[in-house]
């Protein structure tokens, strides 16, 4: 048995001093390989008497397990050391920027249209659309603006060219989204609730006007809709859109040919240090025009005015976008200056919804 202790001492010492995996493998073969010292000793067991065989066999097995465990432990240790060594050489500059990725943006007009849609959808308004080249009937006559009405002159209308021999009145670039009222009612009848956002055109270009801008029309027709309902809808809209706890609106009598009674709507606000705050203060800001749809307009769209009544309103989308997001200049909306688009634009994932809030 003394031989086994010597063997143990020799191999454990060898394993502890092995420099690499190859040396370890040599040691493994020398001890446990087919012709290894321990294997040979195992083979000798067959010739022993049973008592001696039992004790020697047990001792050999213990020794074999011990050496095997030492080999494994050393191998793991060598592996760890090698990995540590490799990791020491592997170093990257984590302060370098990541691979470039473009950041796209959504235009404020599109974003605000999506906000409007989310709010009005909740109140049961669908989204209606209409052509931007309009016949003069849809843009004016059907809206109770006959040809010589002074209101026509106030619209600064763009007219389309009329071919010689074509004696129809020239088409116009729609001056407001109101013709969509007529189209929507003609198609769907009453009751109806729609908004109609879109491009409109007026021949006006200066500090605060562009020849194209965006409006949203609202229309709700039913059997007993009143101007008080209109006020509530606008209050709810403004509160939700401007994301303030409450708003105060003031209706001021006015005149639009297609509504009666008509009202301009002001919203309470303050301007402190050039910062607009909606819902507080002593100032009033005109934000939209509205009223009860004129019976002639209902009739023009094939809706019986003795049976149906309701309201309509029209609001500048660019304007409310400017107010909400503090964008100073209307003209910049259409200049596509990358600096502007990146600064005032919205991320693709900024999808306005009422559950998560309209803006981040």
């Amino acid at each position: 048995m003394d031989g086994l202790d010597a063997l143990k001492g020799k191999y454990l010492e060898g394993i502890a001093g092995a420099a690499d995996e190859a040396a370890l493998e040599d040691l493994r073969l020398a001890a446990l390989g087919k012709k290894g010292e321990i294997s040979l000793k195992m083979r000798e067991l067959g010739g022993m008497d049973p008592v001696l065989r039992q004790s020697t066999g047990a001792a050999l097995n213990v020794l074999k397990d011990e050496i095997d465990a030492a080999l494994r432990a050393k191998k793991a240790a060598l592996g760890d050391a090698a990995l540590d060594e490799r990791l020491r050489s592997e170093w990257l500059d984590v302060t370098l920027p990541g691979r470039p990725r473009r950041q796209g943006t959504i235009h404020p007009v599109s974003q605000v249209m999506a906000e409007l849609t989310a709010i009005f959808a909740d109140m049961g308004f669908a989204v209606a659309e209409g052509p931007q080249v309009e016949s003069d009937w849809y843009n004016f006559d059907a809206l109770n603006i006959p040809p010589e009405h002074p209101a026509r002159q106030e619209h600064d209308t763009f007219f389309m060219n009329r071919a010689e021999g074509d004696n129809r009145p020239p088409h116009v670039l729609r001056t407001h989204t109101s013709p969509v009222q007529i189209r929507a009612m003609t198609e769907q009848g009453a009751p109806i609730r729609v908004i109609a956002p879109g491009r409109v055109y007026r021949m006006d270009m200066d500090q605060t006007h562009t020849p194209m801008f965006h409006q949203v029309e609202g229309l709700a027709i039913d059997r007993d809709i009143s101007m008080a309902n209109l006020k509530w809808v606008l209050e709810e809209f403004c509160r939700a859109f401007f994301e303030v706890p409450s708003v105060e609106l003031r209706f001021r009598a006015s005149h639009f040919p297609f509504t009666e009674p008509s009202a301009e709507v002001d919203i309470r606000c303050s301007w402190e240090g050039g910062q607009l705050k909606i819902g507080e203060g002593v100032g009033w800001l005109e934000i939209l025009g509205s009223g009860m749809v004129h019976p002639k307009v209902l009739a023009a769209a094939g809706v019986d005015p003795t049976e149906w009544q309701g309201f309509a309103f029209g609001m500048g989308i660019d304007r409310i976008a400017m107010l909400k997001y503090g964008i100073p200049d209307l003209r910049a909306f259409f200049e596509s200056d990358l600096r502007w688009l990146r600064h005032y634009g919205f991320a693709a994932l900024d999808m306005p919804d009422l559950a998560g809030g309209l803006s981040r």
Binding site: G104, I106, N161, M227, N229, F251, E335, R339, L341, R342
Partner: protein, 804 residues
């Protein structure tokens, strides 16, 4: 519409405060756009006396004045103030106007401070008229008569204490273009009582030497009523101070008593008048339609040539007045006028509007006649004006000459008080509704309301409701919830196309594009380059030469935007727009496009060499992503039938049969040059509505089939002619065994000189990987060989290619 408070009070008996009147005006629909209150601007200036004026010790041109002032009014004690004054007329004993320290001087915009001028204290100022913006006179300081009361406010002394109010009158309210109409609204609101307008006809002393006739054709429409009379022996000097002051206050220049009277009636009573100098007329006046070609020099000094049908007033010789719009220079009144013909007529609004617009004349008369003056007031107005001429200019009036008659505008509408409440949503008692209408001049007979002659805009029941609502005050309206039409969770409201538009937009932004909104109209050159620019899409009255045609495509707008950004120093960009393009000039001839444009490099320079010029395949990847996002099918055809603005060899059209879904590729170099864009530039346009909608809409997905058997991938490299398109090869391989082949993908392309050296001139290599997915049994080598042979065969047949 401008007026002064004192002028308003001619018609309205009121004690209301100015602020209350202003609030009520805006609330009633007569929006106050401006107020000038002399009390605020000139209230601090009072009369004073120069006790002694001596030469300034240190300046030849300046004078040192001891001034007696009354800072607290003439009743209180006076104070002596030392003032240095440079005016030549500053002298001992002068009665002038003093501004104490702290006063804002409107003419100079300066707030007065105590000062030291050339070593001498000066505390205040002796003012000139220009410094108070009363006139241009700056020759010296104001020099008042010696008996002028001292210490009184200049505004009281001169009758200037009269706030001027400017209201915006909407086109439906011609009656409010006269101060009396405004007074009537305020009275209805309860801010005073409308004073009666007493009209005493002036008896004519002789027959009018000027006769009037309206041509029969115009009597029915054009000029239903024309009245007038001669007043002889008048003296037409300057009008009295009170009248001049009023006219000046509202921005009119006093001319002479006769002309000032006509302006006075225009503004006070919305009754435009005209005065002819009888000495310059030949025979009677005839109201007729122009034959065309007549010319007339009008009072604005310009000569107008008339078109057939426009209305004229002519005497026996020549046209004398552009009827209802502007009088003629020839028969205008001057200081020498002694006999005057005073005209009061009623003109048809539409005819006046058309003529005024055609001749481009904006006069106070046109403005009123085209909106509608009170026809019933034509003759009473003439009587009142006659009296005023007699009062201010003397003379003797003739009998009135009239042709035509007051048109019958009588009409009545039913007042339904319940409907008023239902429509407005305000509880306005019936009594109040009736009182309001009566206060506005309606007469009620049972439930029928007759419309006053001065309200041409009231044409139905709805107009009665509007009148009641605005007088009741819409600012008192309380919001009332609009119930949902159906209880429960709201249904989706967007159409599939609307959803798709939003999806395309969000997809583009997530691909890194900056969304633009560019104008719908572009210049003719750009429109023509992109297949548009015809007369059908031309704007008749463009606002600039850059905005003459509706855009046929969104790409030119984005290219122009790119050029502008390049000029600002941005070389690389990804721009997109989703919006309408116009294929015709009729309503509805527009279609929705989603367009992306990549210019310059794919990325900024970085440490990894990511930067490379953008190319066709960037555009293709993005167009495919957009198409997939909006529900285009996985397999579509790609052709080369591209429009002229694409690079002919580096662009394609994605379609389903004849249905074009998108175009993509490099923008034609000539287009880039024409639009001043430095390339490379690649782009794509998706025809959003052309993508077919799913036939069946269900949220259920088809069941997922997962094969249990191992898939096998095999690579093939083919040598083909260099013009062979990858898709042809892929489709051929795919067709070799539709059941077994799950996918075919190109993984390598080897072309160019090196490739041709290896494989022969005009050749290239395309390598594909084919994934085989067995479903019934594991593939044997034999199976794989069989399908491989079929693939090689199919590819050879389709492309002439051979296995490399």
């Amino acid at each position: 519409m401008k007026f002064t408070l004192s002028w308003l009070k001619d018609h309205l008996d009121t004690e209301a405060k100015l602020e209350d009147l202003l609030y009520a005006l805006t609330d009633l629909g007569l929006e106050v756009e401006g107020v000038e209150n002399p009390e605020k601007t000139l209230g601090a200036f009072r009369t004073c006396r120069v006790i002694e004026a001596q030469p300034h010790p240190n300046a030849d041109r300046l004078r040192l004045c001891r001034v007696e002032t009354w800072p607290n009014g003439p009743e209180a004690a006076s104070e002596e103030v030392q003032v240095v004054c440079g005016a030549p007329n500053a002298r001992t004993g002068l009665v002038g106007v003093f501004a104490p320290v702290g006063t804002h001087v409107p003419g100079t915009g300066v707030d007065l401070k105590p000062g030291v001028i050339r070593g001498v204290e000066s505390n205040g100022m002796l003012c000139s008229e220009r410094e108070l913006m009363l006139s241009d006179d700056h020759d010296g300081i104001i020099d008042l008569p010696e008996d002028t009361p001292l210490g009184v406010r200049l505004i009281d002394l001169r009758g200037l204490n009269d706030p001027m109010i400017d209201v915006k009158v909407t086109p439906n309210r011609p009656d409010a273009l006269g101060i009396r109409g405004i007074a009537r609204d305020l009275a209805a609101r309860g801010l005073g009582v409308l004073k009666p307008l007493e009209i005493t006809p002036v008896a004519g002393g002789f027959a009018s030497p000027v006769s009037v006739t309206i041509d029969a054709a115009l009597k029915a429409k054009g000029c239903p009523l024309f009245a007038g009379r001669v007043i002889r022996g008048v003296k037409n000097g300057p009008s009295p101070d009170w009248l001049q002051t009023r006219l000046r206050a509202i921005g009119l220049r006093p001319i002479s008593a006769l002309v000032d009277i006509t302006n006075y009636f225009t503004f006070a009573l919305n009754r435009p008048l005209h005065v002819f100098d009888v000495a310059k007329l030949a025979g009677g006046l005839r109201i007729h339609a122009a034959e065309g070609g007549e010319t007339l020099q009008a009072l604005d000094g310009k000569t107008y040539t008339l078109r057939a049908g426009q209305m004229l007033i002519s005497d026996d010789r020549a046209p004398q007045s552009l009827a209802g719009i502007m009088g003629g220079e020839l028969s205008g009144c001057t200081e020498e006028t002694t006999d005057v013909f005073l005209e009061s007529a009623f003109w048809d609004p539409i005819t006046i509007a058309a003529t005024g617009r055609a001749l481009k004349i904006n006069s106070d008369a046109r403005y009123r006649f085209e909106r509608g003056v009170d026809p019933a007031f034509t003759l009473p107005g003439l009587e009142l004006a006659t009296q005023m001429v007699l009062d201010l200019c003397g003379g003797e009036a003739s009998e009135v000459v009239v042709d035509g008659a007051v048109p019958d505008t009588a009409r009545a509408y039913r007042l339904d008080p319940a409907r008023v409440v239902s429509l407005v949503g305000m509880d306005i008692p019936e009594d109040e509704q009736r009182r309001t209408l009566e206060a506005l001049g309606f007469t009620l007979d049972g439930d029928m309301a007759s419309v006053p002659s001065w309200r041409p805009d009231v044409l139905g029941e709805a107009d009665l409701i509007e009148e009641i609502a605005r007088v009741a005050s819409l600012s008192l309206l309380q919001g009332k919830p609009l119930p949902r039409r159906e209880a429960g969770v709201p249904k989706p409201i967007l159409t599939p196309l609307q959803v798709r538009e939003q999806t395309a937009r969000r997809m583009l932004a997530s691909l890194g594009y900056n969304e633009c909104v560019t104008y719908s109209f572009i210049d003719s050159e750009a429109a023509t380059l992109f297949g548009g620019g015809s007369d059908a899409v031309r704007v008749e009255n463009p606002i600039s030469s850059e905005m003459t045609h509706l855009r046929p495509d969104l790409l030119p707008g984005l290219l122009r935007a790119a050029a502008r950004n390049q000029a600002r120093g941005f070389a690389d960009m990804a721009l997109c727009e989703i919006g309408p393009a116009f294929h015709g000039g009729e309503p509805g001839e527009q279609h929705l496009q989603a367009t992306g444009l990549l210019v310059g490099a794919s990325a900024p320079r970085d440490a990894f060499g990511s930067r490379r010029p953008v190319d066709l395949y960037d555009a293709k990847a993005d167009v495919e992503a957009v198409l997939a996002a909006i529900g285009a099918p996985a397999r579509m055809q790609i052709t080369r039938k591209v429009a002229s603005w694409w690079h002919p060899g580096r662009s394609g059209v994605i379609g389903l049969g004849p249905n074009v879904l998108a175009s993509f590729g490099e923008v034609h170099p000539r287009i880039l040059q024409a639009m001043d864009v430095k390339g490379p530039a690649v782009a794509f346009t998706v025809m959003v509505a052309n993508v077919p909608l799913p036939k069946v809409k269900t949220p259920t997905r088809p069941a997922l089939k997962l094969a249990d058997l191992q898939a096998v991938e095999r690579d093939f490299a083919f040598v083909v002619d260099k013009g062979v398109e990858a898709l042809t090869l892929v489709n051929a391989a795919q067709g070799a065994d539709k059941a077994l082949i799950e996918s075919v993908r190109v993984f390598d392309q080897f072309g160019g000189e090196k490739a041709e050296a290896q494989m022969g001139a005009g050749k290239k290599s395309l390598a594909i990987t084919v994934r085989l997915q067995p479903t019934e049994k594991t593939l044997t080598d034999k199976d794989i060989e069989a399908v491989s042979a079929k693939i090689v065969d199919k590819v050879a047949k389709a492309t002439g290619g051979t296995l490399r």
